[in-house]
């Protein structure tokens, strides 16, 4: 028996008996992904499109009801573009730019995410997490139809693992009873309470924040503008905070801070929730409750994301507070980083030690996300009289003085991290080159004729020449980079040349800069490519 732990929004991968359940011997798979949330599905898609067989085991038959994540960042959309489903997300999502912050009834601060010019994707879209996951699964179905070796097994719950030096054996429960398989590599994307992490007895260290938040997703037809509204101490939730944010389908995310000592059941009472909602939106607008829940949060991380041939990604590896939208957005960057590395190792083109750099680089990213989201949480949930004192001081000053407004912290929204100091980087060799495209940086988008730069960086190593002669490829044993020359003008030149007259960039399959120079030098390019692929 595999009982559901939550109800489904979309039933997309019903249980089907597979031959392996009847086989006499245990079948070995190159990669088994445990957990078909957004992160596991995105990894399967990345690997499958690279021709690497990926098996996803999920203990449900589809996507859970209830929208957790709603804000998806530009970098996530760019990664999903590479995976093939970014457009569907943007078409469905709500683009927003304006965030307004109120204290009591007065607006004290507003920020505009005003997208910098010359990017294909907006800074953020709002989209219910079940849609986000559905677009990933739909793209998996399309990829499967085109021959990508991906398999999803619904209602397959991993109940035990046995780790060996070069593989892991998994015990799986299904409606037809248990069976076992083996995995050369196991990737645990089984969420914040990761059963795999538990089975391995590994820690999850960090801070728990003593606060509760009530989410009420409501459907209403109202002409509130498409902006993020955040309140400190509003009349309808005295002493606490509140948030209102638009989603597709006329659904709005309302979020009410409740404090620590609450009666959860009483707070979830439908009438009580509706009273709160009316307090925020007024008595006159009809609405329907779509989903309510109470959440608490913690900011935690595992010490190591790679344990031999078991790898942790997404919430299983690290968890952040929702303020700043760094959970799913951070997790998608994990698999962007892991996909190509795992593919190179499985194809025997790079050594296993390349996987260790996944840990180094993504732990760096996770710590940055934890730092930012902990600071937001500290501002929202002051832990001591001193915290309260300074927050009040900031909020009071912010009403009249511009300088205090940037100190108001209702969430610092997710931006990708730069892998400064990564062992895969080659020291910056471009005098006058812009800071934002130094080695380790995620490539900022820029227009290229009618298209955009990132659409040309399609998941392989790229050698990009700007006003520089380069060969059509660079090869070292195991890997090659494809040469590409683009006219260095306008925003592309601003972002990649700066004060330099010409440049050559080595760009990784995950669109991060590995190295850059003023001109092509064969030996330097080969050395950088070897280094970026973990070959030295």
């Amino acid at each position: 028996m595999v009982k559901d732990r939550y109800s489904l929004a979309f039933r997309l991968y019903p249980y089907e008996r597979v031959a392996e359940q009847d086989a006499d011997s245990v079948v070995r798979h190159p990669v088994v992904i445990v957990g078909g949330g957004p992160i596991g599905m995105a990894l399967a898609l990345d690997l499958g499109k690279r021709g690497i067989p990926a098996l996803v085991l999920d203990d449900h038959e589809g996507i859970g009801k209830g929208s957790r994540a709603i804000c998806f960042a530009k970098r996530t959309l760019e990664i999903c573009d590479r995976l093939g489903c970014g457009q569907a997300m943007v078409d469905k999502g709500v683009v927003w730019n304006l965030g307004r912050v109120f204290k009591d009834t007065e607006e004290i601060y507003s920020f505009n995410l005003l997208p910098e010019e010359g990017h294909l994707r907006p800074a953020f879209i709002n989209l219910q997490q079940p849609y986000f996951e559905r677009f990933l699964v739909e793209e998996i179905r399309a990829a499967q139809a085109a021959g990508a070796p991906i398999e999803i097994r619904g209602r397959n719950r991993v109940t035990a693992i046995d780790r060996q030096a070069d593989h892991t054996r998994l015990e799986i429960d299904t409606p037809d009873g248990p069976y076992a398989i083996e995995a050369d590599w196991l990737v645990a994307t089984d969420g914040a309470n990761s059963p795999i992490r538990e089975m391995m007895g590994l820690g999850f260290e960090g801070r728990i924040f003593e606060d509760n938040f009530l989410i009420a997703d409501i459907r209403m037809e109202a002409d509130f503008p498409t902006e993020r509204r955040f309140w400190f101490d509003p009349p309808f939730n005295r002493g606490e905070t509140a948030l209102m944010h638009k989603q597709p389908d006329d659904v709005w995310r309302l979020d009410f801070q409740l404090g620590w000592n609450i009666d959860r059941r009483a707070e979830l009472d439908e009438e009580k929730v509706k009273t709160r909602v009316r307090g925020m939106i007024g008595d006159d607008i009809p609405f329907e409750l779509v989903w309510t829940s109470i959440y608490t949060f913690r900011c935690c991380t595992m010490a190591d994301y790679v344990h031999g041939r078991v790898i942790f990604a997404g919430d299983s590896a690290h968890q952040v507070s929702p303020f700043g939208a760094r959970g799913a957005n951070g997790g998608i960057q994990d698999i962007d980083n892991l996909g190509w590395k795992l593919a190179l190792v499985l194809q025997g083109r790079a050594p296993e030690s390349l996987i260790d750099t996944y840990h180094t680089e993504r732990k760096h990213g996770a710590l940055e996300n934890i730092k930012n989201s902990s600071r937001s949480a500290d501002f929202l949930t002051p832990r001591s009289p001193a915290h309260k004192l300074f927050r009040e001081a900031v909020l009071t000053l912010a009403a009249d003085h511009a300088f205090a407004r940037p100190m108001v912290n209702s969430g610092r929204l997710s931006v990708p991290c730069t892998y400064d100091g990564s062992p895969l980087n080659t020291e910056d060799g471009l005098p006058g080159g812009p800071e934002r495209t130094r080695p380790g940086s995620p490539c900022p988008d820029a227009p290229v004729g009618e298209s955009f730069l990132l659409s040309h960086l399609n998941g392989e190593f790229i050698l990009l020449g700007l006003n520089a002669e380069i060969p059509n490829k660079v090869e070292v044993p195991g890997v090659r980079a494809i040469g590409m020359t683009l006219p260095a003008e306008g925003l592309l030149a601003d972002r990649y040349l700066g004060d330099a007259p010409s440049a050559v960039y080595l760009i990784r399959p995950d669109q991060h800069v590995a190295a850059r120079w003023p001109a092509y030098d064969a030996a330097a390019a080969q050395a950088a490519l070897k280094r970026a692929a973990g070959l030295e």
Binding site: L389, F390, E392, A393, V394, L397, H401, F403, A404, M407
Partner: protein, 72 residues
Amino acid sequence: MADLVTTPNLPRTDDFYAALLAAHEGLSEAEMHDLNARLILVLANHIGDLDVLTQALAVAGGQRATTDPTKT
């Protein structure tokens, strides 16, 4: 890195001190705390240098002035 000035730097010291006391005149303890918190934020913004502020926090917290806060 800019150094925190810990030698006398404020002309008319007594006037400033009197103004500081006057600003606190008649305030309850809670109001005093509020005023001081706002004052710190106003001054911090004016100084506008994280290195200097980090040294200032260390000095205010009882450490000896130093040019390198990591060496205290």
